[in-house]
C-alpha cells in the first residue's frame, strides 16, 4: 500500500469527532458497506460517496493536511459522521492506489491549495495606528484602576486575617471578579474567582489561599511596574492579566508531534477550552495550542494524539514561550514511529522550576516522563521512577486533575512495569495525559 503515506489509527480519527454521538455514528459508517467511489490522492486527501437514506449519496472529501472536511450532507457537526466514517474506513483498509480526484472533490481541494499558497502576511486593511494607540491607552488605564483596587482588596484581606474567610463566603470575591471584568482584565477576574473557592477546599486552605493571594499580588505589582520589566516578562504579565498578545512572536518550523489533546468546560458551561500539546521533534520545543468552542459546540481545531505535522508554529510572546498558533502546514500529518524519550521525576520538576523564571504564574510544564511505574493508592496515586525511590504525586482533585478512568487505563497499560508518560508537571504534581506501552510506539490517550 502506497496510498496517502502512513494511515492514522482509528483512535486518531475518532479524536477528531466533535462529540460522542458523532463518534458512534462515524464508527458505524467506517465499513465498506455504504461507500462508493472511494479514493485518495498522493498529496493527502481522501474522498467517497456515502449512501444515506435519500436517493443522492453524500459527497465527502477530507484534506488530511488540515485536516479539513467537506461534505454535502446537511449536518452542522464538524467533521460530520460521513467524514469520520470515511477516515475510519481509510484508517482500517486504505482507499487503494492514489488517483485523480473526481470533479466534485477536485474543485474544493484546488481551492484549498490556492488559499494555502496565498501569503499570510499583509492581511486586512492598514490600521489607524493613532486610534489603536488611544484605545490601548484607555484600556491600560482601566486595567490600572482595576489593579489598584484589587491591591486594596488583597491588603484588606491580609489586614483582617484569612481566618474569617471560611464564613465570609464566595459572594465578596465574585463581586471583585466582576469588577475586574469591568476593568477589562479577564485574567485577573479568573484568578480572583479561583481565590474565592479556596476556603471551601478542605484542609490546608489558609496556606493555599496565602499563596494564591501572594501570586495575584505579584501580578498586580508586575502590571504596575510593567514599563520597567524586561520585554519577555512584560509580555507574560500582560497576557496573564488578560490582554491579547501584541505583535507576532517567533515562527518555528519543525515536525510537531501531537502529545495530547483534551477539553475542559468552564464552570458555567459556556465555553469549551481545547488544549493541544505539541513538541518539535527536531528542536525539542514544547508548544501549547488553544482553541475555544461556544456553548454546545466543540472547538473547531483537532489534532489527533500521536500524529506528526510538519508545520510552522507561531509562538506568542511571553508565558514562558508555550502558547503558539498553528501556521502554515507543509504535509499531511503522519503517525509517529517512536516513543518520545522521557526524563526522571527530578528532571521534570527542574524543567518546571526553570520555566517559572520566565513565568512565575505558570501552573505546570509539559513533560515526557519515563520510565516510570504508576502506583495506585487509596489516598493518592504516584508515578515513581523505575530506578531509585523518587516519585511525583498525581493530583486527584482541584485544578489540573483528570478523571480516575484515565489513571486506571495507565495502571492497566503498565501492569506494574515501567512506562513512558506525557503530562503536565507542576506544583500540584504530575497529571498524566498520554502513555506509551513499553512494546508499542502507539500512544494511548488517557481518557
Amino acid at each position: 500500500m502506497t496510498d496517502q503515506g502512513d494511515r492514522w489509527t482509528a483512535e486518531q480519527v475518532l479524536d477528531l469527532a466533535p462529540d460522542d454521538a458523532s463518534r458512534k455514528a462515524g464508527g458505524r459508517l467506517g465499513g465498506a458497506g455504504p461507500w462508493l467511489q472511494i479514493g485518495g490522492s498522493a498529496s493527502g486527501s481522501v474522498w467517497g460517496l456515502c449512501k444515506g437514506s435519500g436517493s443522492n449519496p453524500y459527497r465527502t472529501v477530507v484534506d488530511l493536511t488540515g485536516p479539513a472536511y467537506k461534505c454535502s450532507c446537511p449536518s452542522r457537526k464538524f467533521p460530520c459522521k460521513h467524514a469520520l466514517g470515511l477516515l475510519l474506513l481509510w484508517s482500517a483498509e486504505g482507499v487503494g492506489e492514489p488517483g485523480e480526484a473526481p470533479e466534485w472533490a477536485a474543485q474544493w481541494l484546488a481551492d484549498r491549495a490556492a488559499k494555502a499558497a496565498r501569503p499570510v502576511a499583509g492581511r486586512g486593511a492598514p490600521v489607524d495606528e493613532e486610534a489603536a494607540r488611544k484605545r490601548a491607552e484607555r484600556r491600560a488605564a482601566r486595567i490600572g484602576a482595576g489593579v489598584t483596587e484589587l491591591e486594596q482588596r488583597l491588603a484588606d484581606l491580609l489586614r483582617g486575617g484569612l481566618a474569617g474567610q471560611e464564613q465570609a463566603g464566595y459572594a465578596g470575591w465574585e463581586e471583585t471578579a466582576a469588577r475586574m471584568v469591568d476593568a477589562q482584565a479577564p485574567g485577573l477576574a479568573a484568578r480572583v474567582r479561583e481565590l474565592g473557592t479556596i476556603p471551601s477546599c478542605g484542609p490546608g486552605w489558609p496556606a493555599r489561599m496565602l499563596e494564591e493571594a501572594a501570586l495575584l499580588h505579584l501580578l498586580d505589582r508586575g502590571w504596575l511596574g510593567v514599563a520597567g520589566l524586561p520585554e519577555e516578562l512584560a509580555a507574560t504579565v500582560r497576557s496573564r492579566v488578560g490582554l491579547p498578545a501584541s505583535g507576532e512572536g517567533e515562527a518555528v518550523r519543525d515536525r510537531w508531534l501531537v502529545l495530547a489533546q483534551y477539553d475542559t468546560v468552564s464552570p458555567d458551561g459556556r465555553l469549551t477550552t481545547r488544549r493541544i500539546w505539541l513538541r518539535g521533534l527536531a528542536g525539542g520545543r514544547p508548544a501549547l495550542v488553544l482553541d475555544f468552542g461556544p456553548p454546545g459546540r466543540p472547538p473547531g481545531l483537532a489534532m489527533p494524539v500521536g500524529l506528526v505535522l510538519e508545520a510552522e508554529m507561531r509562538f506568542r510572546p511571553g508565558s514562558a514561550g508555550l502558547r503558539a498558533d498553528l501556521g502554515e502546514r507543509f504535509a499531511a500529518a503522519v503517525p509517529c514511529a517512536e516513543v518520545p524519550a522521557g526524563v526522571s521525576t527530578e528532571a521534570a520538576l527542574e524543567a518546571y522550576g526553570t520555566a517559572l523564571r520566565e513565568d512565575p504564574w505558570l501552573e505546570s510544564w509539559p513533560v515526557v516522563l519515563g520510565p516510570v511505574v504508576p502506583i495506585p493508592g487509596e489516598l493518592g496515586w504516584q508515578l515513581a521512577d523505575a530506578e531509585g525511590d523518587s516519585a511525583l504525586p498525581v493530583p486527584l482533585t482541584g485544578g489540573g486533575s483528570r478523571s480516575r478512568g484515565g489513571l486506571w487505563q495507565l495502571a492497566a497499560l503498565s501492569g506494574g512495569a515501567p512506562v513512558t508518560v506525557f503530562g503536565e508537571c507542576g506544583h500540584r504534581g504530575f497529571t498524566p495525559l498520554t502513555a506509551w506501552h513499553p512494546d508499542s510506539a502507539e500512544p494511548v490517550a488517557l481518557g
Binding site: A10, R357, P376, G377, S390, A412, G415, G416, A417
Partner: protein, 527 residues
Amino acid sequence: MNKADEGYGEWEELVAAALLGTDRRRGGGPAGSAEALLDAAAVHAVRRRAGLRPAGAGTRPEPAPRDPRPAPPKAAGHRLAQLLAGRSGAVNGGGRRGTAPDLTELLPQWLAAAARYGYRSPSALVPALLDAARARTDLRPQALALAGTRGLWLARMNPDWRFALRGGAGGAGELPDVTDRAGVERLWQEGLFAERVALLGAVRAHEAAAAPRLLMTTWATERAEDRLMFLDSLRAGLSDGDEPFLEAALGDRSRNVRATAAELLSALPSSALAGRMAERALACVGPEGVTPPAECDGGMLRDGVVKRPPAGRGERAWWLGQLVEAAPLSCWRERFGGLGPAEIVALPVASGDGWTEELHAAWCRAAVRQRDAPWSRALLGPASAPPAAGPGTASLAERAKLLETLPDAERAQWVAEFIAAHGLSEAFQLLGVCVVPWAGALGRAVVDALDTARDAGSYPWSFSGVMGLAERCLDPAEAGRLEALTTAAEDLPDAVPGAAAYWAEAFQRLVATLRLRAAMLAELTPA
C-alpha cells in the same frame, strides 16, 4: 535542601500571620504590613514552586502476571475500543433506528470470536472491559476471560471491580488451587458467599464428587437461601454420584431446597427418586387411560411434589403433572407395549379428554429436564404443522425449550421449516435458541419471510425484533444476496404509508451490520 527547610519554617510563620491578620499583630510579626506580608509570601511561593523536589515513592504494585496469550491484531483492538466506547450509549428504544448498525449488540460476538482465537485484551482496554463486565452480567464471563490476569491484577486494586475476583473466570483469581486441601477448606469456612460459590464451582469442575463432600461439611449450619444456591450449583455436571447427597436433601427443612433436590434427582433417570416417581406415574397413565392420583401422600410430599395447586387448577391434575414430569421418560416404552415416543405421543388418550393436555405438557417438561432429544422431537411434531395442532404444546416458549435439546443442525432445520410454513410473527423465541451464525437454510428462510412480509405490505415495525436478531445472527456471507432488497420501492397502495422506505432502511441496516460483522471477524483473524 537545608535552605528550603529553613524557608519552610518561615512560611509557616507567614501563614500564621495571614490567618490572624496584620492589624492584630502590629509591631511584631514576620513581615509587618499587609503589603510586606504579601511580598514575602510571593517570594516564598515562587521559591517553593521552583525548588520542588520529588516525593519518596510508595510501595510499587506487584507486577501483573504475564499473560502468555497473544494480543489481537491492531485493527481488531481498535474495533474493540470502538465497541466498548459505544457500550454506554443510550438505546433509543422503539424509535426509528436508521440505517446504521447497533454496535452495542456486536460486543458479545466480538468477545466470543476473540475467545476462539485465544487472544488477551489489549492492556489499555482492560478497565473498559471490567466496566462493561460490571454493567452487563451477560457479558461478564467472556469479558473477564479476555481481560485475563491483567484484569484480576487490576481488580484487586479497585473496589469497583471486586466482582471480578469472585467470578472464578480466568481461574487465576483469589481462589486456592483445588488440590490445596487446606486452602480450599479455609476459604470454604471463611470466604464470602460469592467466593464460596466460585470455589464450589471450581472444585466441582475438578472432581464432581468432591463438591457434595465439601457441601456436607457445613450443610447443617448454612442459611436456607444459601443452601438453595449451593444445591443449584450441582446442576452443572450432575451425575449419579450426587444422588446420596440429593436424597438426603429431600428431608431438608426448607421447601424450596426439597423441591430443587427432587428436581435434580428426577433429572437422573436411574435415581431412586426417579424410580419412585416412575412407579407413581405408571400407576396413573397407561394405554387404557389416565387416572390421576387421588391424594398427595407423605411419600409424594417428601419426593418434592407440591400439594397445593396454583389458583385455577384442579389438585389432582396438578399432582399428575408433577409425577409425570419427574418420571424418567424411558419408563413409558414398556408401559405402552414397546412403542416409541412419537407413537406414544400420537395415541389418543382414552378415558375422556381433559387429560391429554396435562399429560403432554408434563412430558414436555420432562423432555426438557432430562434433555431427551427423541421425546422432544416427538412432542414438537412436524414443523410445518399448525402450531395449535402440534402434539406437545402450542406455547412457543416451551417449544423453544424443547428445541434446545435437539442437535444444532436439526434445530435450525426445524425452525427454517416452521418459518417457511408460518411466517415470522411467531418465530422470535424459536430463533433465539438457534446457533449463531444461522445455518444457510435458516438464514434464507428468515430473509425470504421478511421479503414476503414487505411485499404483503405488513407493518414493518412488527418485525423489528426479528430484524434485530437477523442483524446479529445471519451469516455475514449473506450480505451480498441481501443487497437487492435494500432499494426503496414505491409504497404499495394498501401498505402503511412510509413502509417501503422503512423496509429499505431496515434492509440497509441489516446489510451494513453483516458487512461490519464480516469486517470484524476478518480483523480478528491472526495475521
